[in-house]
């Protein structure tokens, strides 16, 4: 009886330790603003993200300074005046995929709803976005396209450039997670 008990506990311990986490440090997030006056686009290829394949919980973090623009002055203004990246160096997302347990991942992307808290410029907002998840070999690919409003995150646009920056910014996320 003692032996069975010990064996049983050891087996249980073995099973419980393997929480399946998939991680990446090279995810891509692109944002795009278009107005009749100006088109602004920037891309960040150093997004870190993790997804827990046991329960669909996920987290993303990125450095604002890692957004690359075509124009150096635009990049400087973005960091110095708009998102104030010296004070708020990172943007974060913490959330989970809804109805994750009913999901079976295949090669074909499946539409999912992701709910969570997005923090930009020190302001946190509840967000619900649509995305997709798929398998790519032994990797997990997650994508999402959604919009945010700079004013929701206290990002002040000076009156002189009000018409150069769109009221809603398009965000495109593409992450390829590998088993940790």
């Amino acid at each position: 009886m003692k032996k069975t008990l010990v064996l049983f506990s050891v087996l249980l311990l073995t099973v419980s330790v393997s929480a399946q986490k998939y991680l990446t440090r090279n995810g891509t997030i692109k944002f795009h603003s278009e107005t009749p006056l100006e088109e602004i686009e920037a891309i960040n290829n150093q997004v870190s993200g993790v997804i827990n394949m046991d329960n669909g919980e996920m987290a993303l973090t990125l450095l604002m300074k890692a957004f690359e623009f075509e124009k150096a002055l635009m990049q400087e203004h973005f960091n110095e005046k708009y998102v104030e990246s010296d004070e708020y160096p990172k943007a974060k997302f913490v959330g989970s995929v809804e109805d994750f347990s009913s999901l079976t991942l295949t090669d074909k992307p499946q539409v999912v709803t992701i709910k969570g808290k997005l923090t930009i410029h020190g302001v946190t907002q509840d967000v619900v976005v649509k995305g997709s998840l798929a398998k790519n070999g032994d990797k997990i690919v997650g994508t999402s396209t959604f919009q945010i409003k700079p004013e929701d995150y206290d990002i002040k646009i000076p009156r002189s450039v009000k018409d150069n920056i769109a009221k809603t910014i398009d965000i495109t996320v593409k992450m390829e997670y590998a088993k940790r």
Binding site: L12, S48, A59, T61, K71, A72, E80, K81, K156
Partner: protein, 302 residues
């Protein structure tokens, strides 16, 4: 028998349940932040422009960027209302600066005052940084060569081309404090090939300093001074002695333009005049109003 077994079973089950802890989202975030200690933050926007007021700031233009500066300096405010407080007596300076790399810039300019052409080369040696690597300040070296294009005032004597030339070299050392305030030291050497009297030194030293305070994201308050060490000048210019230069101004930034407006006791917009030919006295009201407009073009996209 049963009583002995239960506590043991309970302990085992309890230990097993502990292993099933769901990774709280906080744990996920700390997993992502493991790489944070390798991040290096290079300080940016120590000043809003490559020139503070008259003198240079440590800032350089990024690679492929062309900057056009047009500077206006007017006459003395105390020249009275008939001269519109100096506005009638205006000089301009047009300057192009180009970023060969993020750290190496070259420039070409012309000033209407003394009809001077000048070429510039500027290199950012060291950058202020925090994070995984730290360095306390930004250091930039800048050199100019000036050539006067006026007609010889005395064509009968033997005039050498080299007499038209002057040079300037500065080591700019600046630090940004807390995101809002920046301070710069600019030890400077100016060499004039031709000077008027023997008692005038050809090579002149000055300690420049500058400060900039951010008022809003688009507005900064600046101050600049160039202290002239005594004993370097004998001759007077227009009957006045050579003095140290003091200036105050503001930077106003909109989109791709930086407007700089200032008050200064120096007549010229180049270091050659700033250091060695400044004769105005703030106490007397020998103050010049000036403004610069700086516009940046991305000549070669990254």
């Amino acid at each position: 028998m049963r009583n002995v077994k239960s506590p043991r079973l309970f302990t085992v089950v309890f230990a097993v349940i502990l292993q099933f802890q769901v990774y709280a989202q906080g744990d996920l975030m700390s997993l992502l932040e493991e790489g944070d200690d390798t991040i290096v933050n290079y300080t940016f926007a120590t000043f809003k422009n490559t020139r503070l007021i008259t003198g240079h700031s440590v800032e350089t233009n990024a690679e492929g960027v062309l900057q056009f500066n047009i500077g206006h300096r007017f006459g003395r405010v105390n020249s009275g209302w008939r001269n519109l407080f100096g506005i009638d007596n205006s000089t301009i300076r047009m300057e192009f600066q180009y970023g060969i790399t993020d750290r190496l810039n070259i420039g070409l300019s012309r000033s209407s005052f003394q009809k001077t052409y000048d070429g510039m080369i500027k290199y950012k040696l060291l950058r202020q940084k925090t994070g995984a690597e730290t360095f306390p300040f930004t250091a930039t070296v800048v050199s100019n060569m000036y050539c006067l294009a006026n007609e010889w005032p005395n064509p009968d004597r033997e005039n050498y081309f080299s007499s038209r030339l002057s040079y300037h070299h500065s080591l700019l050392l600046a630090r940004k404090f807390g995101g809002k305030f920046s301070f710069q030291f600019s030890p400077t050497v100016v060499h004039r090939n031709l000077v008027r009297l023997e008692g005038d030194r050809n090579t002149v030293f000055s300690l420049g300093s500058g400060a900039s305070l951010e008022l809003t994201g688009s507005l900064r308050l600046n101050a600049e001074s160039f202290l002239i060490f005594p004993g370097q000048f004998e001759s007077k210019i227009g009957g006045e002695t050579v003095k140290s230069a003091f200036s105050i101004g503001v930077d106003l930034e909109t989109g791709g333009h930086v407007f700089q407006m200032h008050l200064t006791n120096s007549r010229g917009m180049t270091e050659k005049i700033l250091i060695g030919e400044t004769t105005g006295s703030w106490a007397n009201g020998d103050i010049h109003f000036g403004f610069n407009i700086s516009r940046v073009f991305t000549a070669n996209r990254k």
